[in-house]
């Protein structure tokens, strides 16, 4: 029998199997969402195909009281936090801007403006520490985001203030049409040294490697030893979003080496070699994923249409000033009744 990798230490057979289960389920959700977009049910969809190991390994490595500050591609992470995928799709359908309670799930809203969440994560972590909590923040971004000034400034702050943050770069090697080598001439992970903390480059398609790197970075942050940067090398197997056509800038042959490193298949093979996964279990996980997809689709179709004035005006201010309420009334008066 193959030797159990170090990274598996501390995880029970049940937990090891659950990593597989989660990856299968989020991949099925991703596929279903893409289908729904193609059927015109969603405005836009950004696939995370190929990035399941990073998303699952990192989320599971954090404690449930820790916070996650995502970009826009972390739907799988949100699912791992227990957020209902059907409800979340309401966001991509344009029904709501707030499909989950960020405080309940400790999962902040998706960030659309590239890298703007990175300073927020640092401030959030500094805030947690000021409040005396032992919570740690996991901040997630793409390789493209590391080019923004916001990113550098946030790294530097985090180092100076020893903020309890784990920076996780999902290096999927593409930022829309721009490949990694045009994004940076150096290493992402090694930059951490310049900011005064540890940086590591890991195989982002190895769920156990991700788990172990994120877990130890979170432990260090919790002990007051400051931030870390983890560059998880993976690959964006799909398009940037459903509005993109990657064949314009990428060859099919670019994908081939990564298809053979599929994070789910390689992990399944290892589990089988350890006798931790049998056909019956695999089938029942597939069936569970199928059930999830059906429930997600059903939920999405049942989500109510928002009332126009409420969706436009209700969330602009926490505490709307009187003049704003008047504007809302005036606007409402101009609306045609909708069927």
């Amino acid at each position: 029998m193959a030797e159990k990798p170090l990274a598996a230490d501390g995880l029970s057979p049940q937990q090891l199997l659950d990593l597989y289960r989660k990856m299968v389920i989020i991949r099925r959700a991703d596929q279903e969402a893409l289908n729904l977009q193609r059927q015109g049910e969603l405005g836009l969809w950004g696939q995370f195909l190929g990035q399941e190991a990073t998303q699952v390994g990192a989320t599971v490595a954090m404690e449930s009281t820790d916070w996650i500050v995502p970009s826009y591609r972390e739907f799988g992470m949100a699912m791992c936090r227990g957020i209902d995928p059907g409800e979340m799709l309401g966001y991509f359908r344009g029904l709501t801007h707030g499909p989950w309670d960020p405080r309940r799930y400790r999962f902040l809203p998706f960030t659309i403006s590239v890298a703007t969440q990175v300073p927020h994560a640092v401030g959030f972590a500094m805030g947690c520490r000021l409040e005396g909590s032992r919570e740690v923040v996991l901040c997630v971004f793409g390789d493209g985001a590391t080019s923004e000034g916001d990113w550098h400034e946030a790294m530097n702050f985090a180092g100076v203030f020893q903020a309890p943050v784990v920076f996780l770069c999902q290096n999927n090697q593409w930022a829309i049409s721009v490949p990694l080598r045009r994004q940076t001439a150096g290493s992402i992970a090694e930059r951490a040294q310049g900011y005064g903390f540890a940086g590591v480059r890991i195989d982002g398609n190895d769920v156990l490697a991700v788990f172990s790197a994120v877990r130890s970075a979170a432990d260090r942050a919790r002990r007051g030893e400051g931030p870390s940067l983890i560059e998880a090398v993976t690959y964006r197997m799909g398009a940037h979003t459903s509005a993109d056509d990657p064949t314009r800038y990428r060859l099919d042959s670019d994908l081939a080496p990564w298809s053979s490193r599929d994070p789910i298949e390689t992990y399944a093979a290892w589990l089988r070699s350890q006798a931790l996964l049998d056909e019956g279990q695999a089938d029942s996980i597939d069936a569970e994923a199928e059930g999830m997809a059906e429930a997600m689709r059903g939920k999405l179709r049942r989500l109510p249409l928002p009332s126009p004035a409420a969706s436009l005006f209700d969330r602009v201010y926490h505490d709307p000033p009187a003049s704003f309420l008047k504007e809302r009334e005036e606007f409402e008066a101009t609306l045609e009744p909708v069927e």
């Binding site: 344009g94 659309i112 493209g144 923004e148 005006f313 704003f324």
Partner: protein
């Protein structure tokens, strides 16, 4: 005259200027191999190569910052912002640097820079991709700001902007790239400081620019069928703001509507209205009516997005109200 859409007209302007002047180069996110997010730079990477069409890392502040540096060094950079919303990351470079360097260096250097950016919404891209910020830039001395709404103006103003020795904010609109019209071939320059009456009429004046020019022209056609003769003034030159044609029109009609895609508060319509009050108060028969987006972040929902922006029906209803016809 060949008929082009605005996307093609802009592309032609860039290409002609790059051929004419070796110093012109382009930089921006996904503008090369990918031909730009909205395909305005189509084919240019292939034709001019990566030395003159730079696919940059995602870093708006340094895109503008390096473009300023290159402009000071004597080149003529044309920077593309994927949408105008992302230029907010670079606002310090635009306002404190590009707009003021010529002044702060006592005229010792100039900044012949063009920043192209599509503003506006209507494409279901969410609040942070759908706003109009031309009024922010039109506020700043040292910048020129233009927002054409026809293919001929798009071409002529972009060529003029590239040849201008000042930093020019060239505001495009995602919703107008497909708008078609006649475009003169070759050397066609439209001055950056000249507005224009695009449709003559006697009963009221509609001041609009960019996508709202298209909306205003449509509304004017509907109004005509209704027996109302609307004059449409294209306010494509926002800074310096050429009020000539608008004032001339107001003196004739006595009634004005301004239409902009962005929020009305502290907006372009507010500026146009004050200038009219200052210069033509006695010619007015009614207060200036201003149309703009609902004062909310642009919603992602398609239907809601549509109703937040002014449309043809809003212009028609407002025009009728101004003329006491409702």
């Amino acid at each position: 005259m060949p008929v082009l859409n605005i996307r093609e007209a802009l592309n032609q302007a860039l290409r002609e200027e790059m051929i004419r002047d070796e110093k012109v180069f382009l930089l921006g996110e996904d503008i090369g191999l990918y031909d730009g997010s909205f395909k305005v730079t189509r084919g240019l990477y292939k034709e001019f190569g990566e030395r003159r069409v730079l696919d940059t890392p995602i870093a708006e502040e340094i895109i503008v910052g390096t473009a300023i540096g290159a402009a000071m060094a004597g080149l003529r950079p044309v920077a593309e912002m994927m949408t105008v919303n992302f230029i907010l990351v670079a606002i310090d470079q635009v306002v404190n640097a590009a707009a003021h360097i010529h002044y702060m260096f006592g005229g010792g250097v100039k900044v012949p820079l063009v920043i192209r950016a599509p503003g506006g919404g209507g494409h279901q891209l969410g609040a942070q991709h759908s706003h109009s910020h031309e009024n922010w830039f039109a506020h700043v001395p040292g910048l020129k700001v233009v927002a054409p709404g026809t293919p001929a103006d798009a071409k002529g103003m972009l060529k003029a902007a590239i040849r201008d020795d000042n930093p020019v904010m060239f505001i495009e609109n995602e919703g107008t790239y497909g708008v078609k019209g006649d475009v003169p071939e070759g050397e066609h320059l439209v001055p950056l400081d000249r507005n224009e009456i695009k449709r003559e009429g006697d009963d009221l004046t509609i001041c609009a620019y960019s996508r709202m020019l298209v909306v205003a022209m449509d509304a004017a056609r509907d109004l005509e069928a209704d027996g109302i003769s609307a004059e449409v003034v294209d306010m494509r030159a926002l800074r310096p703001l050429d009020m000539g044609p608008a004032l001339e029109s107001v003196r004739k009609t006595g009634r004005v509507i301004t239409v902009e895609e962005g929020w009305r508060s502290f907006g372009v319509g507010a500026e146009i209205a004050s200038r009219i009050y200052e210069e033509a108060f006695d010619d007015l028969d009614a207060p200036v009516a201003r149309l703009g987006s609902a004062e909310v972040p642009t919603p992602y929902n398609k239907r809601l997005e549509k109703i937040t922006f002014p449309g043809k029906a809003d212009v028609v209803v407002t025009a009728r109200a101004l003329l006491g016809r409702n």
